[in-house]
Amino acid sequence: MNRFPKSDHPSRAKPRPPAGEVFVWLTSLGLALGILMSIGLIVLIFWKGFSFFWPRNVVELTVRAPANPGTLGSENVWGGVVVKKQAKRSDIALKLEIVRQEWQLFVGNKDTYGHMYRYTDVDAITSVERPKGVAVAERAEYGKAIFYPISITMENGVVIPAEAPDFIKEWRLLVKKSNDRRDKIYTIEKRKIGKVNAALESLRLKQRRLLKKTSDGLTHNQKLSEIEKKMAVLQAEYEVFASQAQQLRAKQKEVQLTYKLLSGEVLTQPMGEILYFYFPNQMNFWHKLHYFVTHFWLFLSEDPREANTEGGVFPAFFGTFVMTLLLSIAVTPFGVIAAVYLREYAKEGLIVQSVRIAVNNLAGVPSIVFGVFGLGFFVYGVGGTIDDLFFADRLPTPTFGTGGILWASLTLALMTLPVVIVASEEALAAVPRGVREASLACGASQWQTVQRILLPAAAPGILTGLILAMARGAGEVAPLMLVGVVKLAPSLPVDGFFPFIHLERKFMHLGFHIYDLGFQSTDSEAAKPMVFATTLLLIVLVIILNLGAILIRNHLRKKYMTSIF
C-alpha cells in the first residue's frame, strides 16, 4: 500500500504528481509531533535527572556592588555553581528595551546565606575564576557548603592547616571515621532501640489487655507484676543504648573543621556533620564519572534527609517495589483464573459478551475511582472489621483500619486486573486449537489440559500482561493518596522485627515523592533537581517494565507465527 502510483494519467508525457500529497504531508506532521513529544520528554527527564548527579565546577565571581545594598550582594566576591544563564527575568517582566543577561548560581551555605540560589547580572561581573582550592561538602544539615578549607582542629587541640601536605588525606580519614560513627549511631537508634521499643510496645499491649479484664485473683496480679519487671529490664536496656548513642554523638563534635566561604566569612563546623567532600575544580572527567556513579548509588540506597529535599530515596524506592510485588501476587491468580474461565470454560453467548464488556469497562474506570473504592471498602470496611475483631485492644488507634501497604496493593491489583485478564485471554486464544484438541484426544482432562498444556504455552503472554500491570501500578499515584501512601514513613514495610512483613504500615512511593517534593515542600526551587532525579528513577523503572513486556510480546508473536497447525 506504500507503492507510489507513478501517474494518474498515463496519456501525459510528464508524470503529474498524485493527488492529495499535501494531505499525506499533513498527516506525517502528526507522527512527527508525536515522536518529538515522546522523545523530547524523555530526553528532558534524562538530561535534568542525570545532571543532578554530575559534579559541576565552582566559579568565584568578583561582582560590582549592585544598586540595592544591604542584601547579600553588597559583598564583592562570592561564587557558586552556575545553574542557569538566561535573559534577565525582571527586565523581561518590565518590558525594558535592552534585556540584560543574568546567571543563576547555586551558592549553598544555607546556614549563612539563608538561601541556596542567587542571581547576578552578567554586566556586573568583573572577573570569573575557577580556584583549584574550592571544596564542596555535603552536610547532614543545611545541604551543601562551598568553601576554602583553612584547618582542622583535632580533639587534642592539634591544628592541621590546609597547607599541610597530608591535609586532604587526614580530612578524608576523619570523614570516614565520623561516617562510621554515624552508622553506629544509626544501628543503635534504629535497630537496637527499635527492638527494645517493639518489645516494650507488645508488653504494654499485654498489660492493657490484662488491666481491662477484671481481676481473677493472684495469677492476674502475678502476671501484671511480671510484665512490669520485664518492662523495667527493657527500660534499663534502653537507657544503656541511649547513653551509648549520646556518647557517640558527643564524639562527632570533637573534631572541628575551619573554613572560609567564597564571600569571606570564616566558620567552623563539627566534622561529624560532613558526609562527604570534593574539590570540583580539581576533578577530571573520570573523577567526575566516579562521583556520578557513587552518588547515583547513594541516591538509591540512602534515606531522605531534611524533609525529603536531600539525601536518597531508598524508602520510596523500596516502598514502590514492595507494593508492586504485592500487587502482582494478588493480581496474577485472579486475573489468570478469570481469563481461563472466560476462554476455556464459559460458553460463548450473551453472558460472556457482557462480561467482556464489563472487563473492558473496568479497564477504563479512572484510577481515582479505584482509590475511592479502596478507601471505602478495604480501609474502612475490611480494615475496620479486622481491627474490631483482632486489634480491639489497640483501638481507637487503628491498625488495619487506616491506609496501609496491603490496602494500596489490593486497590491497585483491582485496578490492573483487566490488564492481566485481557492479556491472559489473548495469550490463551493464541494457543492453536490443535494443541488443545490433541491434549484432549490423548485423554487428558480439561484441567490437565489447562494446567500442563495451555498455561505453560500462554505463560509468556500472561507474563506480558503482568509486567504491564506492574508498570501501570508502579506509576499510579492518585489512588494511593487515599489508601496509605505518606510523605515520610518512619519504618519500612519489611524489616527485621517480627512478623517481618508489616502489611498494615504506611509506606513511601516514588510517584508520591515527586508530588510531595514538587508541591508540598517549602522550597520547591531547591527541591526541583531532586524531583527530576526521582522522576528519572520512576520513568526508568516504568520504561524498563514496559520494554520488557513489549519485547516478550514481540518474541511471542514470532513463536506462534510458525506454530499454527
Binding site: 506532521l29 520528554l41 469497562n361
Partner: protein, 770 residues
C-alpha cells in the same frame, strides 16, 4: 507427573461408559472446574461490586430525615413560655415568666427538678424573655423597663465508669440594667455579645405607643478576672422607623438590629461608627398584607431570616450585597411550601446547619434552608407552645400547652445533600444570585457548605475538551500516516515508542506541566499561537512544494519517510516562532500601562483586558498539552489498529484502479475504519475525564465555570484526590465525594460501552469482507 502416567485415555465424564480413570484425577478436575468457575465469576462480579459498593455509600445522601423514636413525658409545668436544651439533649428545661427553670433529666427517666434564677434584687415582674440557644443565655425584660441576662451553664462531667453526667448551674448578671424608659414594660428584647461589645435592643410599651431602644455596653475585665458590664451609650431609635415595632432581633456580630412591625414591615437598622442608620425597609409578604407576619427568626449564622405569615406561607430572606449598589440588604432567596394550619407558633434553628423547625397544631415541619427541602413533617395531636432542636441536631423537643415534653430522636446525617444540592442552582447565603458552587469547608461553624457537582463536572469537561482538541488531530493524523504510508520496518519501531509514551506516569506529566512547562509557556503565549498556525502551514507548504520538485530530488526521500524531514522542520519552525513571538506580541497584544500611559506589549495583561477573563499561569493550555501525552498514544494505538485491520484487498483494489495513496486512505480506508477511530476517540475521552494527577498539579484547582483557555479548573477526579483524604468517614462530604466518583464511573462506563459497541460493529463489518 506420576498421576499422568497412571491415567488412561478418557473423555469427560459425560458419557455413561467410564474408562478406568484415576478417581483422583477426576476429583481434581471437578474441583478445579469449580474453583475456576467460582473464581472467574467472582472476578466478574467484582466489577459490579465496585459500582454497587459506591452506590451503597452514596445512597444515604438521598434519604430524608428519619425519626427513630419519640417519647412523651408529663412534666406538669403549664405556665412556661419557652423550652431549651443542652447540646447532648439530656437535660432540657422549661422556663416560665417568673424565671423558674424546670429541668427534666432524661437519663433518669424524666425526673424533674427546678432552679430559680438567683435575682440580684427583688423578684421582678417579667414581661418578656428570649432564649438564645447558641450562647445558652436567657434575656429577661421586666415590667419596669429593665433587662438582665441569665446564663444556663451546662457542664459535662465524666464519672468513674466513664459515663457522662451533665451538671447545670444558673449564672445571672449582677444587676438589672435600664433599657430606655423607666417603668415602661418591655415587650420584646434581644441581646448579643461580640468580642468585648454587647448590644441590647428592646421594644417598650409606653403611652405614646411602642418605642424602640438600643443599648451599647462594653465588657471590662478587671485584673482579678471578673468582668463588668458598663453602659457605653443608649439610643432611642423609635423615630428612625415607622410603624409599631413588635419584635426585635440582633445579629451575631452585634452590629445590626432587625425589627418587625405590626404593619408587616421589617426594618434593618445597621450600627456603624457609633451611629444607627436605617439601611432597608421591606415587606416580606408584600405591602399592606391581608395576612400579617406570624413569625420572624434567624437561622444559624444570623444571615437569613425565616418568616411565616398567618396563612402559613414560609419565606427566607438572606443578606447579600446588591450587585448594583454594593449595599448589604435582605432579599427573598427561598420560598417554601406553606405550612398547613396557618402561621408558625414554634421555631427553632439548628445549631449545626441551616435547618429549622416550624409548626402549629396541624403540622410540624423540619426544613432545610440551603436546599429548600422539607426534611421531615408530621401532624401533631397536641397544641405546641415551644420547640427546640438539640445542639448536635440529633433531638427535637416539643412542649405542648399541657406541660408535656415530647422528645423526638432525629436521624438526619446529611441534611445538606439532595439532588438539588448536587445538581441544581442554589441561592446561597450572602450571594447575589442563585449559582452552582463548590466549597465544601469554611472557616466558621456557621458556614453553609456548597456542594454542587456542576462546576466539577464542568471542569472535567473543560479539561477533556482542551486535551482532545490538541490530542485528537495529532493522534489520528499520526495513526493514518503510520498505518497507510509509513514503511513497515519503521512501523515496528514507531508503535512501541508511542506506547511507551502511554506508560509515562501521570504524576510525572503533572509535575512537568506545573513546574517546568507552565512557567515557560507563561511568557511565550504569542510564540505558541504562532506555532499553532505556522507548523501546520509549513506542512502544507512543504507538501505543495514537494510536488513541484524534480523527480530526482523527490526520490531522495522515499515515500513513507516524509516525517523524517519533518522532525528538523518542526524544530526550526518552532525555534523561529519562539523568536518571532515577541514581534507578534508587539504588533497585536499591547496594553496601556494605567500609571505611566506607556504602551507595553504583554499578552498576560492584554488577555484580561481584552476578554475580561483572567490569565493564570497554570491554565487549560498547559493541561491540554500535557494531557496530550496521556491521551495521544491511546487514541493513536487503537485507531492505528483499526486502520490496519481494513482488509488489504480493499486497499489493493483502490490502488489498482488508479487512486493515489491519499485517495485510497481518505476515501476507502478511513471511512471503513471510522467506527474504530470513533471508539479510539471515546476511550481517549474516558482516559482524559478520569485523569487525576496532571489536573491536581497543573490547574490551580479553583472550581470556576468558564471556558477561558487561560484559566484553570477543578475536575471531579482532582476534587476527590484533594478533599477525600481530609473528609471525615461517613460524613456528608465523604459521601458526596463518593457521589463524584460514581458520576465519573458512570461517564466512563457509558463512554467505554459505546466504544466497545462501535468496535464490535467494525469487527462484524469485516467478517464478510476478509
Amino acid at each position: 507427573m506420576s498421576l499422568f502416567s497412571s491415567s488412561s485415555p478418557s473423555l469427560k465424564n459425560k458419557k455413561k461408559r467410564m474408562d478406568p480413570v484415576s478417581k483422583r484425577i477426576l476429583r481434581i478436575d471437578r474441583m478445579m472446574n469449580r474453583v475456576i468457575q467460582i473464581g472467574g465469576l467472582s472476578v466478574i462480579l467484582t466489577v459490579w461490586g465496585i459500582f454497587l459498593f459506591i452506590l451503597w455509600q452514596v445512597f444515604p445522601l438521598f434519604q430524608k430525615a428519619k425519626v427513630s423514636s419519640s417519647t412523651s413525658i408529663h412534666v406538669g409545668v403549664d405556665d412556661f413560655t419557652v423550652i431549651g436544651t443542652d447540646e447532648w439533649a439530656e437535660l432540657p428545661f422549661f422556663l416560665n415568666l417568673k424565671g423558674s427553670f424546670f429541668f427534666v433529666d432524661l437519663k433518669k427517666g424524666g425526673k424533674s427538678f427546678h432552679l430559680e434564677s438567683d435575682w440580684p434584687d427583688v423578684q421582678p415582674t417579667i414581661t418578656t424573655l428570649r432564649y438564645r440557644q447558641d450562647a445558652q443565655k436567657v434575656i429577661f425584660g421586666t415590667q419596669d423597663g429593665q433587662w438582665i441576662d441569665v446564663e444556663v451553664l451546662y457542664k459535662p462531667n465524666f464519672n468513674k465508669n466513664g459515663e457522662r453526667e451533665i451538671q447545670v448551674k444558673l449564672n445571672p448578671d449582677k444587676h438589672f440594667i435600664k433599657l430606655g424608659e423607666r417603668n415602661a414594660p418591655i415587650v420584646s428584647i434581644d441581646a448579643q455579645d461580640y468580642e468585648t461589645r454587647k448590644m441590647v435592643a428592646g421594644i417598650q410599651k409606653t403611652d405614646e405607643g411602642h418605642k424602640l431602644h438600643a443599648l451599647l455596653l462594653r465588657r471590662k475585665v478587671s485584673l482579678l478576672g471578673q468582668s463588668q458590664l458598663k453602659v457605653d451609650q443608649s439610643y432611642d431609635l423609635s423615630n428612625s422607623i415607622e410603624g409599631h415595632p413588635e419584635k426585635v432581633l440582633i445579629n451575631a456580630s452585634a452590629d445590626a438590629i432587625t425589627v418587625l412591625t405590626r404593619e408587616g414591615a421589617v426594618h434593618y437598622v445597621v450600627f456603624q461608627n457609633g451611629v444607627f442608620t436605617l439601611q432597608q425597609t421591606f415587606y416580606p409578604f408584600g405591602e399592606n398584607p391581608e395576612t400579617p407576619v406570624a413569625s420572624m427568626d434567624f437561622l444559624l449564622g444570623d444571615a437569613s431570616l425565616c418568616f411565616t405569615d398567618t396563612t402559613g406561607q414560609n419565606l427566607i430572606y438572606s443578606l447579600y450585597h446588591l450587585p448594583e449598589s454594593g449595599k448589604l440588604e435582605y432579599g427573598l432567596t427561598k420560598t417554601f411550601p406553606p405550612l398547613k394550619g396557618g402561621g408558625s407558633i414554634i421555631f427553632s434553628a439548628s445549631q449545626r446547619n441551616k435547618a429549622f423547625l416550624i409548626g402549629n397544631k396541624e403540622e410540624v415541619s423540619l426544613r432545610f434552608s440551603t436546599t429548600e427541602s422539607i426534611r421531615w413533617n408530621k401532624p401533631l395531636e397536641y397544641m405546641p407552645r415551644s420547640a427546640v432542636i438539640s445542639g448536635k441536631y440529633e433531638h427535637i423537643f416539643i412542649a405542648d400547652t399541657a406541660g408535656n415534653l415530647h422528645s423526638i430522636e432525629l436521624n438526619d446525617p446529611h441534611p445538606e445533600a439532595g439532588l438539588k444540592a448536587f445538581f441544581g442552582k442554589i441561592w446561597y447565603e450572602g450571594q447575589p444570585e442563585p449559582q452552582y458552587s463548590w466549597q465544601s469547608t469554611g472557616a466558621t461553624d456557621t458556614f453553609e457548605p456548597k456542594l454542587s457537582l456542576v462546576p466539577l463536572i464542568f471542569g472535567s469537561i473543560k479539561g477533556t475538551l482542551y486535551a482532545l482538541i490538541f490530542a485528537v488531530p495529532v493522534a489520528i493524523m499520526a495513526a493514518i500516516y503510520t498505518s497507510q504510508f509509513l514503511k513497515p520496518r519503521l512501523r515496528r519501531i514507531v508503535k512501541p515508542s508511542m506506547e511507551i509514551m502511554a506508560s509515562l506516569p501521570s504524576v510525572v506529566l503533572g509535575f512537568l506541566a506545573a513546574l517546568w512547562l507552565a512557567p515557560i509557556i507563561e511568557d511565550q503565549i504569542p510564540s505558541i499561537l504562532l506555532m499553532i498556525i505556522l507548523i501546520p502551514l509549513v506542512a502544507v507548504i512543504m507538501g505543495r512544494l514537494w510536488i513541484f520538485l524534480p523527480q530526482r530530488a523527490r526520490s531522495w526521500v522515499s515515500s513513507g519517510n516524509e516525517f523524517i524531514i519533518f522532525l528538523p522542520a518542526i524544530l526550526i519552525v518552532g525555534y523561529l516562532c519562539l523568536q518571532g513571538g515577541g514581534l507578534l506580541e508587539q504588533l497585536l497584544f499591547t496594553v496601556q500601562d494605567p500609571e505611566t500611559g506607556a504602551v507595553i506589549a504583554d499578552f498576560r495583561q492584554w488577555w484580561p483586558q481584552f476578554t475580561g477573563t483572567p490569565f493564570e499561569q497554570r491554565n487549560s493550555l498547559v493541561v491540554g498539552f500535557m494531557m496530550g501525552f496521556a491521551v495521544i498514544p491511546i487514541i493513536f494505538t487503537i485507531s492505528e489498529d483499526s486502520l490496519s485491520q481494513v482488509p488489504a484487498s480493499l486497499v489493493s483494489g483502490s490502488l489498482a484502479l488508479g487512486a493515489s495513496r491519499w485517495q485510497t486512505a481518505a476515501r476507502i480506508v478511513v471511512p471503513s475504519a471510522l467506527p474504530g477511530i470513533f471508539s479510539a476517540f471515546m476511550i481517549g475521552l474516558g482516559r482524559a475525564v478520569g485523569e487525576t494527577m496532571i489536573l491536581v498539579m497543573a490547574t490551580g484547582n479553583t472550581p470556576i465555570m468558564d471556558l477561558n483557555i487561560f484559566s484553570g479548573m477543578r475536575t471531579l477526579s482532582a476534587n476527590i484526590a484533594v478533599e477525600l483524604p481530609e473528609a471525615p468517614h461517613h460524613g456528608t462530604l465523604y459521601r458526596t465525594l463518593f457521589l463524584g466518583a460514581m458520576v465519573l464511573f458512570l461517564i466512563t462506563f457509558f463512554v467505554n460501552t459505546l466504544a466497545e459497541l462501535m468496535r464490535h460493529r467494525l469487527r462484524k463489518k469485516y467478517q464478510g469482507l476478509a
